[in-house]
Symmetry: D2
Amino acid sequence: MKVGFIGLGSMGAPMAQNILKAGHEIIVFNRTGSRAEPLREAGARIAEEPSEAATGVDLLVTMVSDDLAVEAVLLGEIWPLGSLPRGAVHVSMSTISPELSRHLSELHAAAGQGYVAAPVFGRPEMAEAGKLWIVAAGPPEHVRRCAPVFEAVGQGVLEVGEDVAAANVVKVAGNFLLASAIEAMGEAFAMVRKHGIDPIHFLDIFNGHVLRSPVYQAYGGMIARGEYEPAGFKLAHGLKDTRLVLEAADEVSVPMPMASLIRDHYVSAVARGWSDIDWAALGRIAAANAGLGD
Amino acid sequence: MKVGFIGLGSMGAPMAQNILKAGHEIIVFNRTGSRAEPLREAGARIAEEPSEAATGVDLLVTMVSDDLAVEAVLLGEIWPLGSLPRGAVHVSMSTISPELSRHLSELHAAAGQGYVAAPVFGRPEMAEAGKLWIVAAGPPEHVRRCAPVFEAVGQGVLEVGEDVAAANVVKVAGNFLLASAIEAMGEAFAMVRKHGIDPIHFLDIFNGHVLRSPVYQAYGGMIARGEYEPAGFKLAHGLKDTRLVLEAADEVSVPMPMASLIRDHYVSAVARGWSDIDWAALGRIAAANAGLGD
Amino acid sequence: MKVGFIGLGSMGAPMAQNILKAGHEIIVFNRTGSRAEPLREAGARIAEEPSEAATGVDLLVTMVSDDLAVEAVLLGEIWPLGSLPRGAVHVSMSTISPELSRHLSELHAAAGQGYVAAPVFGRPEMAEAGKLWIVAAGPPEHVRRCAPVFEAVGQGVLEVGEDVAAANVVKVAGNFLLASAIEAMGEAFAMVRKHGIDPIHFLDIFNGHVLRSPVYQAYGGMIARGEYEPAGFKLAHGLKDTRLVLEAADEVSVPMPMASLIRDHYVSAVARGWSDIDWAALGRIAAANAGLGD
Amino acid sequence: MKVGFIGLGSMGAPMAQNILKAGHEIIVFNRTGSRAEPLREAGARIAEEPSEAATGVDLLVTMVSDDLAVEAVLLGEIWPLGSLPRGAVHVSMSTISPELSRHLSELHAAAGQGYVAAPVFGRPEMAEAGKLWIVAAGPPEHVRRCAPVFEAVGQGVLEVGEDVAAANVVKVAGNFLLASAIEAMGEAFAMVRKHGIDPIHFLDIFNGHVLRSPVYQAYGGMIARGEYEPAGFKLAHGLKDTRLVLEAADEVSVPMPMASLIRDHYVSAVARGWSDIDWAALGRIAAANAGLGD
């Protein structure tokens, strides 16, 4: 299978590697060219322009940071969508808005191409291990066409129907649950800490026996130790995803006060210059608000 | 071992039964006498006054609803603390404030009695199965004295040191994490539902593969189905515990905006007459705020 | 002076009438044509297309509901900006985003036209009386050109410099202060009411002697009486403006938790079908959350 | 008239001076004795104990910082209530909880004494000028007895009925409206400032022409200039009053999310060591959260 791949960030790069390892032919594009080097060495072709990565492929995978990047890459002046062959499928694995997903779906349909929304759950180490969870939506025949790539990068596919927006809704709702868990731990840990209790001990007690979630264990450890670097998922992206969930909620008139609260904390973190540390740094905001330095 | 037991609510009654089954002699007291009947039939003695349940016992267990109930029962006119033998231990398993716990500890110490704070995690069905998790704090020799009762009612004891207040801090912080998870699911489910996605499907996808917490699964199911009755843990108690975590946080100058938000939603639920349904009904508030009837 | 005027809503219609009364020649456009009738009778010319209202005028005034309306009207297929004579000035009196204002400023400059941002404070009755307050920003020579129109519709002009966005920032920040006052009264009134105190009496005491603001008096009266119809300013527009202030704040990384809270309440009001009542209906949300029916 | 006066803080001291100037005989008590010196020089008698200030007076005025201080002073071991003559009236002008006010009312009634709740609006400079606004509640004959003192310290009395708690509810609700205005300005000013607009200019525009409230002008000036010292009203007291309004609201099941938000910000300010600066320092929190240093 011939795969185009756009976006070699901390998630995209290992995904592209895994597609290559699975025996597919791959042509990759990244705005910052140097990030493509390890892939070149591993046998990938390097595109100079986004449109080049779309030319003549069976499947075009995009894994970029946000709506703007998708728009810049796909709807730019040198229009890659025009380069994608009729009958080929574009699978958007980025976390983008349900609205943009629907818009892309219509553009591709008009051009005789397929479109599948397939955002993923998992951090970079899971991307490296090919263990992502993929939430996929779109016409079944197009989703089926993505199977070889999904197998290469993930441990399973969770289908949510034909409406492509549904996959993006599930993704942003899921990220919101993660951010809520992070925020809640940040507040709880600041409180127990000022009462003289080691947050790691609290986490072991409570998550070890009650919640029993590996996600709480992982993020809880980061917050309890105050270790937010290197970022597995950057705080600026956490803010972006929180904006997405609020927009998706606003679209259907659902207030999400907890998401609003989290958004405000992320905005404050960005104002303090913390955009590039891990999004678990909601815990650092909670500590700062409690008068606890780092 | 001779055990006094005060408080036969939905948690206390099965705990007392399990203590009895474990072969201990037990004398129980409950404000509403009729709730003691099943225990009488099972072989327990029934006290007419709190003080009677304290007289001549090795261990006095209290499992009542809140600070006020503890104060009413223990610091009332017919002072049961005076009836408790010197050298006996009072183990408070209720969810009460760290402050009251410390106060009781001092009163007991002055009277030559022991005091252990040992709140529990678990819902009524876990109490029935003797599978509670016990968070215990107090002087080691007193905690040790509680071992036979802890074995009868729980599946494990998590010790948090000699400062009795620590156990109560851990308990209210833990309940706050639970309420946060409930609130977050309530908001997320309202949003996905208005986007046409079945919240049960969303929960299966996200908790089944990412969070993987049995607590999310249980509460998530209740919220997704809108089933808040019968209450495993009443909403009025959820409000009480949220007040406790805010007080414990205020005491050490820690803002907990997520706890504030949850408190406000519980207050609104009480104003709507929902005090007696399950505290998972934060999900019902989230739905109502999104214009979704029950 | 020859004036084009686009947007004949509850604010725009009386403003256009006042411009006419001041002796200027005016050509008006409104999407819903019937709203233009009273103006036709008063001597205005009616445009069939937005572009017609821009053709050959000295000054083009736009007073429409939001960014989308501005974009639809001005950047639509029949591009009215192209019809506006070189050297003419477009004065945007709508409440739009600082971002769009800057964008329009650049488009007009490129076309050799002037652009002034001049949003207004005041409700429909003030528009009728020609007593609006105008916040104006833009190049001084262009602001000066708007003087005859400003005199016709307002009681004063408050200049905020050459950066056109500044006027829009001031406007959305001001509307946020109004919404905050409304929300605060909504919560306070629900509380005093459930304590048996008449909110009108409370308002008289507190605003009559402490705050002494005519705005609190007017909105406070509406909330205390629960009278939200007819709308002076629709709730849907209140939500729009709260979104604008949050966007303007996000742009410069400022968290505004009170604005987030207000946004959530407006979203909930829209979900309940209250889009068309007055934005003071934050007080109705506060009452509903307190279990007080209307 | 013979007046006892307890509590010589920044409000109490000038009030006592004004009572003295009005020609009444006065005996004052303050925990920190040195604060009584200027009054001694002006002709007041100094009490060594609270009870001494109650002995033989017609009217006992208390103006202390909070519920705890009232309880310490009035319900202490040397019980001043017992020293107050039968038929004398205690007028509590402190900002205390409606609950404590009702409790005091009952204690006094049982002792054949009168009780009036009469909290005041106004800052220290208004206390000095004898220009406070007094919100009074209680049996009319007792309120009437306070008239000479009210005339000495205030510019007007606003009666709210016989239920003493009503005066305290009005007071805490009023302080909540003030704190809301402060918080809203803090957020708005941080936002306009980062957009390059001088907050003083914004305040002049918006309050000068729209809100037109002297309170916004005064607090707005402090926030815009970042001047929070010396404190007219200490932040720690602002936190106390916000707790009071939340308790009063909780008592009648009214959620007040804006009050919760303000409470959290005050708690954070206390955690940063800002207890003793002016409560307008919500503006300092808003600035800090926006990455703006002082």
